[in-house]
């Protein structure tokens, strides 16, 4: 146990006691605490408390886990400690949602049970004969818990770290069903959160799809329209992203993480070198297919294929019959945490042929990958914002956080995907320009938005990389002892998002800045 833990608890207890208004009404805000990482817990509790300063409410914390979650991911889940921290952050009640309840089975719970079973057992999809019974019962029980909770109390908001899988996703669904604001904190950067308010819903089938649409609209109105003014900051973020500062995507490897190629000739030479190395034809364009963590949050946004594995399999089949371009299939660098079936290797064994190669992403440096790739394919991977920022076009076979921002070609249906892919391959072979200057600019604006405007630095939520626990607890204790709260960005940004019903936290008032 960290020596800073108890001082942190004492400081938090004193701090929040003096910084929260007393709720005179029977309002509740719900904060989720079902992840073992204390950085996640700090984010949900802090945002919940910042909302309580705007709309006084009592704090209800949802916690607990089960054997399947513990075995698969949360081996260090410590409910006693979660309860201590939640109490220090002013929790009025703490509920273990995994306690036995009579299940309420529905189509929704079935969908969540399937996605959760895939994630916990590291499966791209459920095999025939898979016994979904226990997970289905658990999803039903969780749904019953959440339905009763959101029905019986006057809840003003749910703050959660996830909107996927049974224990989180069904709570988020219940909040949406009961027209309760949903705040989804992000596990990266300083303080980042998306919000879905009942007033702003547009009828998309999933929570993430709703957010995609709203983020796209905000981007258009408050970011793209001010691009001239933002350009200096955008260029700096683009430079930093290219040099792997500011934590861009993780598709990188090798001793060099910066990108040194500058001229068209450099690109051509390096692409030729890389193609030869991989056994590809240096005179053909190359399509790079970025595999996903195959069991990650299945079916949570609009997708063109039934699941992520189906997209990869179908694309590999297409590649085998499209010899006019090179095909490079890259495995996801963290796949071992998401697949226990060897899906990628098995597909490689079936589909590899001259001109169609399968590789681990660690085998290619950024210089190699960026020079070789003429077109990137993904469903929702971050390559679809990173590559266009540096002139590489991407087709997405589905929606993502940023897919409404106009930097990639987005195919929401399978037929659109094949049509876009076919015409892109044709144009590649003709040597046509594949990306517009506007798409590049939009992608760079997204990099800026993601790591600047939509990332709120506040000492009350240390940057995600402030770690290990000793450092985190000491930093928080110091903050709560010595930093006063007036106009701290935590509170001003939550206030702005909460009262204006905006879809994300912002570092500053984008509307005001745009005037």
């Amino acid at each position: 146990m960290s020596r800073y833990y108890q001082p942190f608890l004492r400081a938090a207890d004193t701090f929040w006691r003096m910084n929260l208004p007393i709720s005179r009404e029977d309002n509740w805000i719900v904060a989720e605490a079902m992840h073992e990482d204390v950085r996640v817990l700090i984010r949900t509790l802090t945002v919940a408390n910042a909302i309580r300063r705007e709309t006084p409410a009592r704090l209800l914390v949802l916690t607990g886990t089960d054997d399947a979650w513990r075995d698969a991911m949360f081996k260090n889940f410590d409910q006693a400690r979660i309860r201590e921290i939640a109490t220090a952050y002013g929790a009025d009640e703490i509920i273990d949602v995994h306690e036995e309840t009579a299940p309420a089975i529905s189509e929704l719970t079935d969908r969540y049970a399937r996605a959760t079973a895939c994630r916990l057992d590291l499966l791209p999809r459920l095999p025939d004969g898979y016994d979904l019974g226990p997970r289905r019962a658990k999803a039903g029980a969780l749904a019953a818990h959440y339905a009763a909770l959101f029905r019986d109390r006057r809840i003003i908001g749910l703050v959660t770290s996830h909107v996927d899988y049974d224990q989180w996703g069904l709570a988020a669904e219940a909040a949406v069903e009961h027209e309760i604001p949903l705040i989804h904190v992000q596990l990266t950067g300083s303080l980042k959160a998306y919000a879905l308010f009942p007033e702003t819903r547009q009828g998309e089938p999933t929570i993430r799809a709703e957010l995609t649409r709203q983020i796209g609209a905000l981007f258009e109105q408050d970011v793209w329209s001010h691009r001239e003014r933002l350009r200096p900051g955008v260029e700096l973020v683009a430079w930093r992203a290219r040099e792997n500062l500011g934590r861009p995507a993780w598709w990188r490897a090798g001793s060099e993480t910066s990108f040194g190629l500058r001229t068209d000739t450099d690109l051509r030479q390096f692409a030729g070198y890389t193609a030869r190395r991989l056994g590809l034809d240096p005179n053909r364009p190359t399509v790079t297919v970025f595999n996903h963590a195959v069991s990650d949050a299945l079916g949570t946004n609009r997708e063109a294929f039934p699941d992520l594995a189906a997209w990869l399999e179908e694309t590999a089949h297409h590649a085998r019959h499209t010899p006019e371009v090179n095909w490079l299939f890259l495995e996801h660098p963290k796949q071992r945490h998401y697949d226990s079936t060897g899906h990628f290797a098995a597909l490689a064994a079936r589909a590899e042929q001259p001109g169609v190669v399968f590789r681990r992403s660690e085998e290619l440096s950024k210089n190699a990958l960026w020079s070789l790739t003429d077109l990137g394919l993904t469903v929702r991977g971050s390559v679809s914002n990173e590559l266009p920022a540096f002139g590489i076009p991407v087709i997405q076979a589905g929606w993502s956080e940023w897919s409404g921002c106009g930097m990639s070609t987005v195919a929401a249906y399978e037929s659109d995907y094949w049509k876009e892919l076919g015409s892109s391959v044709e144009r590649l072979c003709l040597g046509a320009d594949m990306i517009t200057a506007q798409q590049v600019e939009r992608a760079r604006l997204w990099l800026w938005f993601y790591r600047s405007a939509a990332d709120v630095p506040t000492p009350f939520v240390p940057q995600w990389e402030i770690w290990p626990e000793d450092l985190l607890f000491h930093t928080l204790e110091t903050t709560m002892r010595y930093v006063e709260t007036d106009h701290d960005p935590l509170f001003t940004s939550v206030r702005r998002m909460w009262h204006r019903r905006e879809p994300c936290l912002t570092r500053f008032d984008l509307r005001e800045a745009g005037r």
Partner: protein, 264 residues
Amino acid sequence: MRHARHLTTAHDEPVRAGFPLALHRGTDPVLVVTEGFHRGQAVPGRCADGRNLLALRIGAGDRALQVRLRLSLDRTATDWRMRTTPLLNSPRVLLVRAQHRLRAAAVLCDLPEPVTGAWIRFDLDAGEVPPDGLLLLELTGEAAGLALAEIVVETPRPAPTGSLTIPKAARAGLLSCGGLAVGAPVAEHVKHPLLVVNPRPVPLRLTFDSGWSRPSVQAVTLPEREPLPCKTGRGTVKIPASATPILVTLPEESPLRTAEPLTP
């Protein structure tokens, strides 16, 4: 079609090139990209095992170029190799490519002492390095830990002629036979039965110490290792002109004395 203009930002430093080039630091911006290769502070860097790529911006226009590399095999390199390949009694055979073509090779032996070096030298025709592009150097083979101590790129100098001692021939990049002791008053070559004779437009006559009659040697081309017949005379072997490096196995520890490029 990809355009490099989309890769640049307003914060990029102007492109730097260096000609003539004598590179001693891995942090020099002229060394644009490396793969496998680990950049160094006091030397350009050290090799990883297997494949190493260095991309250098030369900016010499269309002219012909001469490239010279000095490889250094020290204790660090030996320790590094030992972690991956415990069989240190086998010599390291390295291949050097430029612009995708095999240009030279070297043989180096791991020894407890002293530090040994190998010299690589080859010419590039006018236009092989594009004026707005890169010199792509690849070092492959058993390179783990090997230091690349110097990279020189300049206008071609004529190849040495006449009968050369083995250290002189090795320094001129004509051949490589285990390495040269570095820092000793007289640069002794490490004697090893494996020898690389690098590409030349003329044959090379190797002369052995007296006492050898007709040395029985085996020669193969690199990298395919196809047998190459060599004429032997009394105490001499004539290695034919070749566009690729030739790996020569001598019957025992080589009592080589001189190497002489023959005029056509």
